[in-house]
Symmetry: D2
Subunit: 114 residues, 4 copies
Amino acid sequence: MAKETTAEPLDVIPTEGENCHTAHHLCMPEDSRKRAARRLAIARGHLESIRRSLEDPNVYCVDVLRQIKAVQGALDGAASVVLRGHLEAHVATAATRGDEKELVEELMDALKYI
Amino acid sequence: MAKETTAEPLDVIPTEGENCHTAHHLCMPEDSRKRAARRLAIARGHLESIRRSLEDPNVYCVDVLRQIKAVQGALDGAASVVLRGHLEAHVATAATRGDEKELVEELMDALKYI
Amino acid sequence: MAKETTAEPLDVIPTEGENCHTAHHLCMPEDSRKRAARRLAIARGHLESIRRSLEDPNVYCVDVLRQIKAVQGALDGAASVVLRGHLEAHVATAATRGDEKELVEELMDALKYI
Amino acid sequence: MAKETTAEPLDVIPTEGENCHTAHHLCMPEDSRKRAARRLAIARGHLESIRRSLEDPNVYCVDVLRQIKAVQGALDGAASVVLRGHLEAHVATAATRGDEKELVEELMDALKYI
């Protein structure tokens, strides 16, 4: 899922580091990756506990609605971590690489679904 | 998490059926429960695959954002199933039980977080 | 825009009152109508002041974004007033009129766009 | 509401043009300003017609809900125009001015309310 902004395929997948945030290859900052992964793991556990609660015939609709909304809040938080990392590492530096048109277009498209 | 609308505790948890949707005990319709559980199981699997994709240093921010948004869409779908069951089984029949004030208050409060 | 739940046209538009919330004609509760109208008038004024601020070449994007979001919050509030009135006056009493299927279907459809 | 990123006040408000997008002063791109203003004018007209419809005692709740949602969609469109202009003119060029930290912080804060 790594980002290629030119047509030529890269022979070598860059290791994370100085050549990671170039016009050829944009990698998610490590800190964002780890923080987002942690939040997703928590959300998955919460989702599993809601799913299990639905095995009880006495579960109440509004309690389930509230739990689902709590998970959506957690996912908003995870998306926020990813978006901030993207803005800092890739969008704010776009003019120095020359891919600002493409990056803004792509981000606007992704945010539409928020 | 079953709903009690009176202060007196129930001695016996009603089995699902005719005495389930009374002012004393409101149970989630079985069909909603099963359909919501199925959707949550799928969302949990999707969430786990996103979390795993974050172990790859070459993962791209915008791909992750899009995946998180897809899971949020799935959770909206699950919440929709639950809300519809609640409206049909509990809210639309509230005037026949006399608990409309409480049910509407509670639902408005839960929807605030949507 | 009054709601007709039968195919036969009404000869007489009911005056607001006892025959307003029947299967033939569902009117918005007067209190909801007045409160929602007040909120919409305030939102419209706010929107006009944002529009005017855009005539100034020195206006800053993020300030405009924040102002638009404030108006959306006000509209959420107005929608909330209308939804609460609908749940209380129409949905919670649906089983006594026998139009619960139609009302829930219609509401779920309208909430999709929220 | 123009953006100042330094503490010293500007003696002269820059005219729109080359000195507009500097670390000292960020102006909204003219095209975004005009397009957003047009959309807000349409939304305001729509809002006024909903407000007027609420003077009719026969107005139906769900019709009002749908109309309010349509205006919120229009405001989402206007916010989108503003956000795109901001990303292109200010965020994508931040690293060339050195204010990326501040711009990303501010944008994340503004998007929280979306």
